[in-house]
Symmetry: C2
Subunit: 232 residues, 2 copies
């Protein structure tokens, strides 16, 4: 089953962009009268029938619209961009496959890169959304200073992944189902003591993700996966 | 903390290879008399003192040896190589970070690539082992035909990730702690009905990894992560 993407379908954009049209018409050989499925990235799927199989602009008519199953919880991961941009792009792809609602790139004291090409991340997210047959894209927030990330946090359960002498509880043992969650994942150099204190003062709970020392992007995926597992 | 790799240290190879020597001497500026930690990839760490800080062949003396903490369980993931080799290399890196004992590349009916550069996978595994401060490398088995993988399976709990109408139980709900586990992860085109039947006849249990449709390499990581989570 193939899924296509048209973010403006509900505003009447009843066509696929050039790249999607090429894939649909030239690669998959879809033709007029064929039914395909389109996602808007906002939680809706559309069954549509191709009316003009143009490989530059494939036109269609909507047959019906249906909503992606609602999840009674939400996951927000705020993560420090990695030195190697591929790693954060990979993190976005995997989290979208597994299930995530919001990603914030977080600029910490030890963050080694404070610029990320957001259009690349969006591309990764769209392709992962299509691959995993979902209809919604996560909100991806630009690089934001750590204190501001903390200040903006509205979630019901807030965690900071940080392992020190005090051996914090494992994330999986603190999560209650069906809540809104936020997890902070630090840079390779980890959060500073000051950053940890700021988070703790703002009701973030210190958690461990297990005994292994994980790379930043792996820790981000692990946190997202654990929060999804607790629910299912 | 930096970790270096010398697989033959117990056979008396008291030096780092050229690449490791460069990193140790030129990049990290280690010098004679400095103490560094070396892993042999077989479960042992060595505290060693540098005796000759040569950037082509850094010599050292062993101070003492200690064993990596033993895990009372073992994880074996047999996975179909992905069309894009990067994805399986990434799978190896992430599983080593999270914790895995054996990886078998499995040639299924729908497998799109039956050749994988094992030296590349070994390189990924070594760098991930060092990154996550572990002392052991997983055994990585070459591409093996599906029936042979099934025939060789010796683990106490054997699972095949396969989602169909019968909605199998989630892996996390079937795992008992402290066992030897094996999980089969199929290609993008999934296992064939015949392959599924062969596995079921050989006492593999059909399991789900959750409601999301995951790419092959993501499913492999998810399975490895779940098996580690059940223990901790």
């Amino acid at each position: 089953m193939n899924l296509f993407y048209q973010p403006a379908i509900s505003e009447g954009s009843l066509f696929l962009d050039q790249e999607e049209s090429r894939h649909c018409v030239r690669v998959l050989r879809k033709t007029s009268g064929d039914t395909i499925r389109v996602a808007d990235g906002k939680g809706y799927f559309y069954e549509v029938v191709i009316t003009k199989a143009d490989q530059n602009k494939c036109l269609f008519e909507i047959q019906h619209q249906f909503q992606q199953e609602h999840r009674p919880y939400s996951i927000h991961v705020a993560i420090s961009p990695t030195k190697n941009a591929d790693r954060i792009e990979w993190f976005v792809e995997k989290c979208v496959e597994i299930g995530i609602d919001c990603i914030t790139l977080m600029d910490c004291k030890n963050t080694e890169r404070s610029f990320i090409k957001k259009d690349r991340l969006h591309k990764m997210a769209v392709s992962a959304m299509k691959q995993s047959l979902k209809a919604s894209l996560p909100l991806i927030n630009d690089v934001t200073p750590f204190p501001q990330v903390i200040g903006n946090a509205q979630e019901e359960m807030k965690f900071i992944a940080f392992v020190d002498q005090s051996n914090p509880d494992h994330l999986k043992d603190l999560v209650l189902p069906n809540r809104s969650y936020m997890v902070l994942i630090g840079p390779e150099g980890d959060f500073t003591k000051e950053e940890l204190d700021i988070a703790l003062r703002s009701d973030f709970k210190k958690v461990s993700l297990g005994s292994s020392r994980l790379r930043t992007e792996t820790a981000g995926i692990a946190a997202c996966h654990i929060l999804n597992l607790i629910q299912s």
